[in-house]
Symmetry: C2
Subunit: 262 residues, 2 copies
């Protein structure tokens, strides 16, 4: 029985039936999915008109609205959460009007023909978590060197330096060479000693001052003293933050869409 | 009959039924809407895990994918168009796997319980058009003065200057005063004369050199000569471009989401 209550769906309803179902779903704060032929008018900071076509309208329980065309991953129109809705039945159409107060923005969806009205009660408390591997942390640092410090310029990464590979290798704003060791979990004494070894290996060959930087989300107990004794530095960096930097780059196309196309 | 073909909907199907309907919809390149309890795993530039919860999965005919939670206007996971799909039925779940080739990115949606599968054939050729009023063009110039020229700094707008109001008023990179007259349609002789009047009104009072700039999407026939004779300038600016600037600002929250939260 509970499962039946999750979903109310009407296939090819008449406009009056559809309007009643839409009003009920909005009143009950259900997630509403409507597929149909519609025109969409937006007015706010600018104005836009979307001529009639067959689309999907989603109104979520928090009052956010999305209009999706049958192609493209971006919505063509939308409103953020907190929008207030009015439904009006007219001759030959239903108007769903979504108003955002601050700034004042209106989206009017005029539905002329409806294929489906679906009202869902969804429960979702699943946690969303982002991860980045150590290698992904390197990439994030290369993409956004200011994650380490302002003025840091990477020269190379995963560079072979006996006894192994230096994670990231660069120059700070004062021209000093920086050798960076990255850990995706709390860094212990081993990580500090590993970094010290690289510093020693490079010391003889470098023609300028050297800095050793241990980068990790946190430093283990009693490790800080060893770090200071060896003249090394610690920079806290969360793999989650690195994942966001990489994701952001992934999303540049989506951002471009919002900049260019709407 | 045609209308019936637009929509196939299953309410509370068994997993096997749902899997068959999903595979068929993908093969037929229909727009697919699935509501159900799912877990979502992403791997690509970074990794993310979304623990189980009740959500809406949309796969469009162009191979784009969206996973929407019951709140928020942003998708929690997505793939752009051109993704390739595999559906696998496992014990107690259906896995929908979306692969993007370049860069390689995987989204795996594991569906444990399905409330609805809806397959739609949507036709949408409606044109999307953006508009901005003259006032909105002023706002866009204030928000992004480089729309006029690099180094332009607005001082005031809709400023009273007998015989009327100057649209935008500012200083160029060389310190010259710039009086801007904005038109949202092709500018004719009247617009030029209007600008000339403002220039004459300000000339006596200003302590620095003056420039008059007519801003419009285009200049009417034979108007250019008059403009040059009066020592005025023309800058082409499309109201559509202004609408995009304003829209972009509206979207800053959405962009921030993609930067901060995923």
């Amino acid at each position: 029985m509970q499962k039946q209550n999750k979903l109310k769906v009407l296939a090819n309803p008449k406009l009056a039936e559809a309007a009643a179902a839409i009003e009920k779903a909005l009143a009950q704060r259900r997630t509403l999915i409507v597929a149909g032929n519609c025109k969409v008018l937006y007015s706010g900071r600018a104005k836009s008109t979307l001529e009639p076509g067959e689309r999907i309208l989603i109104i979520k329980e928090d009052g956010s609205l999305l209009v999706h065309r049958p192609v493209g991953y971006e919505p063509v129109n939308w409103q953020p959460s907190g929008s207030v809705f009015h439904v009006e039945t007219k001759a030959g159409s239903i108007e769903v009007h979504a108003v955002r107060q601050k700034p004042r923005e209106n989206v009017r969806v005029l539905l002329y023909e409806i294929f489906m009205v679906s009202a869902l009660s969804l429960t979702d408390s699943g946690e969303f978590s982002l991860h980045a591997s150590e290698k992904e942390m390197h990439q994030a640092i290369l993409m956004k060197p200011s994650l380490l410090e302002e003025g840091f310029k990477p020269i190379s990464y995963e560079k072979k330096v006996e006894p192994g590979f230096v994670d990231v290798y660069g120059v700070d704003k004062n021209g000093k060479l920086v050798i960076v060791e990255v850990k995706r979990k709390t860094a212990g004494k081993e990580a500090v000693l590993q970094l010290a070894k690289y510093i020693n290996a490079v010391k003889g060959k470098a023609d300028r001052e050297l800095r050793g930087m241990l980068v990790a989300p946190s430093l283990g107990k009693h490790v800080h003293r060893l770090l200071v004794t060896l003249g090394l530095e610690f920079k806290a960096l969360d793999p989650k933050k690195c994942a966001k930097v990489l994701k952001k780059d992934k999303n540049s196309k989506l951002e471009t869409f919002f900049e260019e196309s709407t």
